[in-house]
Point group: C2
Chain length 245, copies 2
DNA sequence: AACTATAAACGTCATTATGACGCTAACTAA
DNA sequence: TTAGTTAGCGTCATAATGACGTTTATAGTT
């Protein structure tokens, strides 16, 4: 027996996945399809975020975690509740209305939106029941509901946060090269960075730990691997506010 | 006739007011009192944030603006939706249950929380119907519901935001002195700052505009007044992400 | 008119961080 | 051996920062 849900409230999840090989920041979306029962014509055919209602006895964070577990099989990801959306007309496109009729759900819903950070390769997309697919943030498909708006705001939050908190490491493997890190910043922020200055800046941080390990299997000079130490980072800034306006 | 409301959803507002005279960051709270109808005993007597339900045809932002207008008479304040709260047990203290029975409201409510920034003197507290009162953030009274948690998280967000966005100017008059600004940072961040270095840093910002005006009526050397130019600030940073981890 | 208390505001110096570049090093594949 | 490719070291001028010392303008007091 499924638990009772709270009416009018949902949680939507923006899943950001970074692919270090293609240097692409992607969003995980699921397909929304509805066929006319008689003509078999596709009435609705687009993509949406994964989301669901909140159970009666569940915290919002738990709803988000549950949704993500169900979609990706993954737990323990970086998760941020970044904004709630509740415009009265946020689900009033033509296709949303068709969809809502068939699914019998309330069009005046407030959704609490989260984003998650991971690497694309962590998710196994074979035999996922939602037809989930990665899309580059720069090349999103047609989206249902107000989900383009939600993704854009998640992306803005991520961009801004990436400039003052060390969250990018959630999008990389534990061991990474300085150039991986630079590529990632360049993808997220859509900027070009001078490699020599970036490198100097990063290797001077105490919480970027050089390892006695190098890349293997590359066709050029193998790069040194580094790790991020959250411990050291937090010790350095626990009482230290740097005003940087 | 009052509009229909959306069940299970509310908006709560944390109003931060800065008092430059006392150098105190304050929160505006309203009194929550309930008397036993027979014995006249005070069953509930504490403070809470202002909040209300969302109307059927209203955006969340509009709800927040409406609540604040009703409480303070003010429009056009800096407003930020910073987090939503929906723990199943967020309203399950003994007093909240008593209160909810008498007010006939749903204890499983998700609230979308906003904070507002202004100067305490802007609000006229005479004849306000809610018995609203300012409390220093360092010295809050007993609070109902989960409102202490909400205030603390609003404060954390404000602290962090103040270090990388120029929002402190929302808490000061248009014309301010460098020392006003320093006092404000010190109050918010609970740190000590070297005046000479702070002054040098701020005066060199292009968006801190010196005026040909000085303080009047002070008993010591009158300080020069400055303004913050949002225009210049935004032009400087519209395409410029500074990585500062 | 001179003195005092108070806060404003200018200045110095050593160190560190930054932006803009030039150049060398290590690896694989041909 | 050589070419292609990416890693990574180095230099220089300028800007920003942290830690201080010193002077200045005002109102109130003597």
């Amino acid at each position: 027996m499924t638990p009772k849900i709270i009416p009018n409230v949902s949680v939507d999840c923006v899943v950001f996945g970074y692919d270090a090989k293609t240097k692409s920041l992607n969003v995980l979306l699921i397909q929304r399809q509805l066929k006319d029962k008689e003509t078999n014509e596709l009435l609705v055919n687009d993509y949406v975020l994964t989301g669901y209602h909140v159970y009666e006895n569940e915290r919002l964070d738990e709803t988000a975690t549950r949704i993500l577990k169900e979609l990706t099989g993954l737990d323990n990801l970086y998760k941020k509740q970044f904004k709630s959306f509740g415009n009265p007309n946020r689900l009033l496109n033509e296709k949303d209305i068709i969809w809502a009729k068939s699914e019998n759900f309330n069009l005046r819903t407030i959704t609490v939106a989260y984003y998650f950070l991971l690497q694309t390769y962590e998710v196994n997309l074979k035999d996922n029941k939602h037809n989930a697919k990665w899309f580059p943030i720069k090349n999103l498909p047609e989206l249902g509901f107000d989900h383009l708006e939600i993704i854009n705001q998640a992306y803005e939050d991520l961009k801004s946060k990436a400039t003052y908190k060390p969250i990018v490491f959630e999008l990389l493997p534990d061991k990474f090269t300085i150039n991986d890190l630079q590529d990632l910043y360049q993808s997220i922020l859509e900027i070009e960075i001078d490699n020599r200055n970036f490198r100097r800046k990063l290797i001077n941080k105490k919480y970027i730990i050089p390892l006695d390990e190098k890349q293997v299997g590359v066709t050029n000079k193998p790069a040194r691997l580094y790790m991020f130490s959250k411990d050291i980072y937090e010790k350095m800034f626990q009482k230290n506010y740097l005003i940087n306006i």
